[in-house]
């Protein structure tokens, strides 16, 4: 049956790119007509529309559907038109060539399997020809057919074709594209489009359609390692279904999965389907699936499932080649949100490493990146990101940046020179040798009557951390304990005086506090830290630094409660927009998933909260056998 066979007919998506006025839309319109793909009504409409504007038949009207596009004879936005050839179904993606519409050009071209780069014979290679070629390479489109158009305007001369072809091929070679064919054509006259042109008998290669027929659609990367970004977790009934699209590789029932960045492990119990039927035992790249797991681990949208072999890279820092679409400029220190597969996370620009000039491919230093420029930029993320290098696994190595409500950049990741932090801690330790103290922790503990400990308070501004820290310190001191509070005042003025409040500085601030608190604890002291410390990743690092001596206490109060307290007037200023990245208002607070103690200051008065913390310290930190010397 014809219908069934057609189901598996390969469909090829081809973007048509190139400089404005080099005849892209005309080429597509004429190609549609010459392949019998223009419906009769559409042809009549184009003829009528051309007559109304007093022009000869204007093939570009087949695509330029907006009034503004027809009146100004320029393509504004990208469009897609189906074209059927005897061999296959093609979707033609028209991409605007005008510099002003580059974001539309990449929106169209990014969906393509292959591209036709159109260059006008008389004008030759121009600014947008090079930029579009460069963007194709950045978008990962390597199959390119070059059409040297408007050969009629140069008398169908072979020498001109050779000149333009040579110049373009040299440029393409430098950016790693080797064109599959260079075809001399006249789109308007229909020469060399669907059959060999008698006017260019000197040309021996394929006509344009024949060149396109040699292209194959891109296939989902089934042979790469498994990458399944979690899109959502559904609990519509008793099942807990983890849903997502397999970006690469295959998954089987029974497979052991690791969810990054949290490193949770579970096995695939079932692959769920609807309508109910025989349950599949495997699925592959390209499929949108739902799975259940054998253990109730906490995973959420943004997590990345892979097998325990071939894990993604975990990192706080990465370098990317970006195409900047924003209306303003990108500058070091600026913060954006990254969308990487299903992960949405804050990132900050650490440095602009080099600006790339698409004209001559030279790199230049710059303190900013402006609209339509391409640059290499290093980004830092407060939390760990799970990703791949673009060259290793495109779907997990590319991203967009969001500023407010707008998409402002597209980028591809290069990790050269950056370590995978999954192994970084282990690697760094290998080169260090610990000098052993001549007396151990036991001796210090016996003298003090208590263990060294990091009592790590976390919670919103106004939750009561400082009030409780100072009162707990007073009470412990009076009982003769070695105790000290680290807070913003005594840390920021000295040790961390070089740090500001940008997200990267905040991360570093907490890192140093964690390390210092660990040293205090190792020296036998009880150190209470009183910092918002909003990110789970930062607190986990502090926990690791303190080894077993870390006690996380969540001082719990919601934003509404803290805002009514607002002793420092900070919430009011944050609401007014005076304070950027204010936790709870314009920056997230990540609640501790399993703190050692939760102290709810909304429900309990200060005295009760202090008592709860002292009880905890007495049962976990104070040595039972020998009480401290009374003071």
């Amino acid at each position: 049956m014809a219908g069934v066979k057609q189901d598996s007919r390969p469909q090829l998506r081809i973007a048509v790119v190139g400089h404005v006025d080099h005849g892209k839309s005309t080429l597509i319109g004429r190609l549609l007509h010459d392949t019998g793909n223009l419906p009769a009504a559409k042809l009549a409409e184009i003829e009528a529309s051309s007559r109304r504007r007093g022009v000869e038949i204007e093939w570009s009207f087949a695509l330029d559907s907006f009034q503004a596009e027809r009146d100004q004879a320029v393509t504004i936005d990208t469009t897609q038109i189906p074209l059927r050839t005897p061999r296959r179904d093609i979707i033609i993606i028209d991409a605007p060539g005008h510099k002003e519409f580059l974001k539309n050009m990449i929106s169209g071209a990014a969906q393509a399997d292959a591209a036709i780069l159109v260059v006008e014979a008389s004008e030759g290679v121009s600014e947008q020809s090079r930029r579009h070629a460069y963007l194709l390479q950045l978008l990962g489109i390597h199959k390119v057919v070059v059409a040297i158009n408007k050969m009629d305007a140069v008398g169908y001369r072979e020498s001109r074709f050779a000149e333009v072809g040579k110049e373009l091929s040299e440029y393409l070679a430098k950016i790693g594209i080797s064109p599959l064919a260079l075809v001399p054509i006249s789109a308007r006259a229909g020469e060399n489009l669907v059959k060999a042109s008698a006017k260019m008998a000197w040309y021996r290669g394929p006509d344009l359609l024949a060149a396109l027929d040699g292209l194959m659609p891109a296939q989902p990367p089934v042979s790469l390692p498994l990458r399944l970004p979690v899109q959502n977790v559904y609990h519509f009934d008793t099942r807990r279904i983890v849903a997502g699209r397999i970006e690469s590789g295959r998954i089987h029932v029974g497979d052991a999965l690791i969810f990054s960045p949290g490193n949770q492990e579970a096995r695939v119990k079932t692959i769920e389907i609807w309508p109910p039927g025989p349950a599949p035992s495997e699925a592959e790249a390209g499929q949108s699936i739902g799975i259940t797991l054998d253990r109730p681990i906490f995973v959420e949208r943004g997590d990345l499932a892979s097998h325990d072999k071939n894990l993604p890279i975990l990192t706080h820092v990465f370098r990317a080649r970006i195409f900047w679409l924003g209306r303003g400029s990108l500058t070091p220190g600026a913060s954006y949100r990254i969308k990487l597969a299903t992960r949405l996370a804050p990132v900050t620009v650490q440095s602009i490493d080099r600006l790339i000039d698409t004209e001559n491919l030279a790199g230049a230093e710059s303190s900013s990146v402006s609209t339509n420029q391409i640059a290499e930029v290093t980004f830092r993320s407060p939390g760990l990101l799970a990703l791949d290098e673009y060259s290793a696994n495109p779907a997990l190595g590319r991203f967009v940046l969001i500023d407010g409500a707008d998409t402002v950049a597209a980028g591809i990741i290069n990790m050269e020179g950056f370590p995978d932090e999954r192994r970084a801690a282990a690697d760094a330790r290998r080169n260090l040798f610990t000098a052993e103290h001549l007396f151990g922790a036991d001796a210090r503990n016996r003298r003090n009557g208590h263990r060294g400990a990091v009592i790590w308070f976390t919670g919103l501004s106004g939750a009561g951390k400082s009030t409780l820290a100072m009162e707990v310190e007073r009470r412990l001191f009076l009982q003769g304990y070695q105790v000290y509070v680290l807070d913003g005042d005594n840390v920021r003025r000295g040790l961390n005086a070089d740090l500001g409040f940008a997200p990267t500085d905040r991360v570093e601030n907490i890192r140093r506090i964690g390390e210092m608190a660990a040293l205090f604890a190792d020296a036998g002291m009880i150190v209470i830290t009183s910092f918002i410390s909003p990110y789970i990743a930062d607190r986990d690092r502090a926990r690791q630094a303190a080894k077993g001596a870390f006690h996380e206490i969540y001082i719990k109060a919601d934003v509404a409660t803290c805002e009514t307290r607002d002793t420092k007037g900070l919430y009011k200023r944050a609401r007014a927009g005076d304070l950027a990245d204010f936790t709870g208002i314009s920056a997230p607070y990540e609640e501790p998933p399993s703190p050692e103690l939760v102290v709810d200051t909304m429900r309990h008065p200060v005295g009760d909260s202090v008592r709860a913390i002292l009880d905890y310290i007495e049962s976990h930190i104070v040595l039972k056998s020998a009480g401290p010397a009374s003071g």
Binding site: G3, T79, Q231, I241, P275, A395
Partner: protein, 265 residues
């Protein structure tokens, strides 16, 4: 290896799940035509048998009786949360539009009222690129301003399946999970999945509806295709466009563009 229809379906499911995860409150328009039926079917696949958002019919009371019959049969069968939004009368539409466009614009007004009343941030629609030239220029997640207008001169960048889900206050998103399907794909999928359709699509006495709209502005085409297989065979060779029977597309060169930039589907 996935078949062509499998690939189309997987992408639509991905888009529906993105919309559901990132855009709330969310609703889906159901015209009860072949496209939105196929889309509802895929929503049931995406969410394992449930459609986790309301399904909205913009009702002008001018649909053909078979359409209402079909609706009343499917709603309980598929467990849909149906909301019927009565569209305002033709007098409330832009008087500068040609007559059939004004009739169609009643749905634009109905949609605006609905969004205002229910505060939707996202509305899912079953339009396709190959239906009509201005639809071919759409984004999958397409923002509309406070008045429901489409600023087609300045559409957001959309690549690598990263969709615009952040909005200015008062704006909403039109979400188009079927943009990449063609008419013939919808029919092959309807056949493969055995999805129910309004019988008006199948020829009787040499005529059938290729595209379903209100009875005052939609006309059947000459056809003997009485089964889905025959429809598919007909589409293999036709050079007539799908919306030839929809009056509002043909009243003037820019009739449909004007309708859409003012908020039509």
């Amino acid at each position: 290896m996935l078949s062509h229809l499998d690939e189309l379906e997987a992408r639509t499911i991905y888009i529906l799940r993105e919309a559901h995860a990132r855009v709330q409150p969310l609703g889906m328009l159901w015209s009860i035509g072949k496209d939105s039926n196929a889309l509802l079917w895929m929503a049931r696949k995406a969410f394992f048998g449930r459609v986790p958002f309301p399904v909205i019919q913009l009702d002008t009371a001018m649909e053909l009786p078979e359409v209402y019959e079909f609706r009343d049969r499917i709603v309980p069968e598929w467990g849909l949360d149906l909301h019927v939004e009565a569209c305002p009368p033709i007098e409330s539409t832009d008087p500068n539009l040609p007559p059939a466009s004004r009739a169609a614009a009643r749905k634009t007004e109905g949609l605006k009222n609905l969004i205002a009343a229910r505060g939707y941030r996202g509305v899912i629609l079953g339009i396709r690129r190959d239906e009509q030239a201005t639809r071919a220029k759409e984004r999958v997640f397409s923002p509309r301003d406070l008045g429901g207008n489409w600023d087609f001169r300045d559409q957001p960048a959309e690549l690598w399946d990263q969709f615009k889900t952040e909005l200015q206050p008062g704006a909403h998103l039109r979400i188009h999970p079927l943009l990449h399907w063609r008419e013939i794909d919808i029919w092959r999928y309807t056949k493969r999945e055995n999805i129910p359709i309004v019988p008006l699509y199948l020829a009787r006495n040499g005529k059938r509806y290729r595209s379903l709209g209100e009875k005052n502005i939609t006309f059947p085409i000459e056809s003997n295709a009485a089964t889905i297989d025959e429809i598919i065979a007909e589409l293999e060779t036709t050079t007539t466009s799908e919306r030839a029977g929809r009056s509002m597309d043909h009243e003037s060169e820019d009739a449909f563009e004007r309708l859409r930039s003012a908020g039509y589907m």
